[in-house]
């Protein structure tokens, strides 16, 4: 199945010239580089036409605030945000994904930041988007990601006295003592 989705670099370039979505992504990427500098962004990808860039938690608030104010592409709708956990990535274990949408130009942008699990602090977006409030509480609840400056960072879906963050990968869904459901035969 995998070979169907992989295209050669040449094919991707020609597709970018023809496809209006790819052109929009290019326009957005140019804007990002112009506003915030090319060094700010790493891992620029377009999986399934969705422009995805990785940046740092030091810059993320500036970027989202800048894009909210920007009049050219008007990425001023926060579609969603969520946490992530990649235990095998050293010092990049936890991640936060932000998805912005321009309702005027129909361009989407996915921003990612990664940070060590020992220091899970990210800046809050509640000063920019009211909707970030519960999303950040959800990320705190599930992953223990602390949004610095959040007005009310408490658990939202799980019970208050829970003492761990259940979406982290070390917490297996199944009862760990059972042997009839080992990962040996059926994968994860």
């Amino acid at each position: 199945m995998a070979d169907q989705t992989v295209e050669s670099p040449d094919a991707q370039e020609t597709a970018a010239e023809l496809d209006p979505a790819a052109q929009k992504n290019k326009q957005l990427l140019d804007l990002l580089y112009r506003l915030f500098g090319q060094d700010t962004f790493t891992d620029v990808e377009e999986p399934y036409g969705f422009l995805t860039v990785t940046t740092t938690r030091e810059r993320i608030h500036d970027i989202i605030a800048g894009l909210q104010q920007d009049q050219e592409l008007q990425l001023n709708f926060l579609t969603t945000m969520c946490g992530m956990h990649w235990p095998e990535r050293k010092d990049q274990e936890l991640g936060m994904v932000y998805m912005l949408h321009s309702l005027v130009h129909n361009i989407r942008l996915r921003l990612k930041i990664f940070f060590p699990i020992g220091d899970p602090h990210v800046p809050t977006m509640t000063d920019l988007y009211s909707t970030a409030n519960w999303m950040e509480r959800e990320a705190f609840d599930f992953y223990g990601i602390i949004a610095v400056g959040h007005p009310n960072l408490i658990r939202i879906l799980n019970v208050e006295d829970m003492d761990y963050h259940p979406m982290r990968k070390q917490y297996a869904l199944e009862d760990g003592t059972r042997e009839d459901k080992t990962d040996l035969f059926f994968g994860r």
Binding site: L78, T79, L157, V159, P166
Partner: protein, 422 residues
């Protein structure tokens, strides 16, 4: 002490109290509270108006709401965690239980997400079948919301009329998938079976009978003085605030923003159909009610077009790695048996990648963010649940209004507990 002195003293207290607190609502003079004491009121967790289980702890000044603290999570079932251990086809029943008033939309949104990841193209007939079912689901979703809004304002009749119609739609679901509420409808790659002649017949009969009932319902409510007094200018939100709160769907369109995923990013051949996106002006309860009513009519238009132009051809994609073979072939054909086994045991790996797909759910943009690391299950699956996102605006919308306004506001926002808590 003379009586006059006492009255004088009371007036003074009232005046001081009025100076000290902000003017909450132009219609809400707060003179009836002499002691400046607020009442704490638990709206929920189980309250007829919450339509599910979630709580609002309201601070009341007489009839007026001063502040509110929403508590959610009473039916949190950790779908995002469960999904990390399930093969793709086993995640469909989880999506049923999010917005259970319009399960087919959730099912098909999820299937389309997986198809996008796999690069599977679904044949036109299956796409049209999906459109028909998704629009039926949208209608039932809106019927529930508007019917119950009637109940919450004291008009039970409309609700009963509409539930009768919803029942007929559920019979169509039953014909198509065998289930009624949690439908688990369709498969990755298309539909599990073609529409039966009975399903088509029931659909046609319903399309013919429903408009009259809907017209009667609208006649009963749209210009009803009692109903309008209860809902006009109640629980309003400006377009700017709604966007800031991440509103989507009918609630956003009621505030005057014409964002609809079906138009902006057409999926499943929505670009083939001719329909309109109704918008409101003030974002109040009446606008939300009217937008939903109009969307029902537009959905009917789409269904009629899709049924009229339903293309011939296969009803599922040729994706043997993910689409179960017919049961008969499993017994007679070795390849089919192998694929059947591999699919059921979840032995087929998906491509590595991340994909976001959104559909226009009953309540707004229902998004699926799927990260695959090449295993049999998602590495991470995040549901963008419109209810969860817009319900946080509720407090802001009801502060300064009366308790009865809060009830109809909650009702018209159509907060579905399953989607709220996932």
């Amino acid at each position: 002490m003379a009586v006059n002195d006492t009255l004088e003293g009371t007036r003074k207290i009232v005046e001081e109290a009025e100076e000290q607190r902000p003017n909450l609502h132009p219609l809400a003079p707060t003179v009836n509270d002499f002691n400046q004491e607020l009442t704490t009121l638990n709206l929920g967790p189980t309250h007829p108006a919450t339509h599910g289980i979630f709580q609002n702890i309201l601070q009341m000044d007489g009839e007026r709401i001063v502040s509110g603290v929403p508590t959610i999570g009473y039916i949190h079932r950790a779908f995002e965690k469960i999904a990390e251990r399930r093969p793709f086809y086993q995640i469909t029943p989880l999506t049923d239980r999010m917005n259970y008033c319009s399960s087919p939309i959730n099912n098909m949104g999820w299937h389309m997400t997986v198809e996008k990841l796999l690069g599977v193209t679904v044949p036109k007939r299956a796409q049209y079948m999906r459109v028909i079912l998704m629009e039926l689901a949208r209608i039932t979703d809106h019927l529930i919301c508007n019917g119950i809004l009637g109940v919450d304002t004291g008009a039970f009749t409309g609700f009963l009329y509409l539930m009768d119609e919803r029942e007929k739609v559920y019979e169509i679901y039953e014909e198509v998938s065998g289930a009624r509420l949690t439908t688990n409808m369709g498969r990755v790659g298309g539909m599990e079976r073609d529409f039966t002649p009975v399903a088509i017949q029931k659909l046609r009969a319903w399309l013919k009978s429903f408009p009259a009932v809907m017209r009667e319902f609208e006649k009963m409510f749209n210009r009803n003085r009692i109903f309008m007094d209860r809902v006009v200018d109640v629980g309003g939100i400006s377009a700017e605030r709604a966007l800031n709160y991440g509103f989507t769907g009918p609630n956003l369109r009621a505030a005057g923003v014409d964002y609809d995923v079906r138009v902006m990013n057409p999926y499943s051949s929505y670009q083939d159909f001719d329909f309109e996106i109704p918008v409101g002006t003030k974002g109040d309860t009446y606008d939300r009610f009217m937008v939903r009513n109009e969307e029902i009519w537009q959905s009917l238009r789409i269904i009629e077009q899709a049924l009229e132009n339903l293309p011939e051809g296969p009803y599922h994609a040729d994706a043997p790695h993910f689409y179960l073979p017919p049961k008969q072939a499993v017994y007679q054909n070795m390849e089919a048996l192998i694929y059947h086994f591999k699919i059921i045991m979840g032995e087929i790996d998906a491509p590595v990648g991340e994909v976001y797909h959104s559909v226009e759910g009953g309540n707004g943009e229902l998004g699926f963010y799927l990260v695959s690391d090449g295993g049999r299950t998602p590495y991470r699956l995040h549901f963008r649940r419109p209810c969860f996102i817009y319900y946080q605006a509720y407090t802001e919308m009801v502060v300064g209004q009366t308790l009865s306004d809060a009830i109809v506001t909650l009702s018209s926002m159509n907060v579905i507990a399953g989607e709220l808590d996932a």
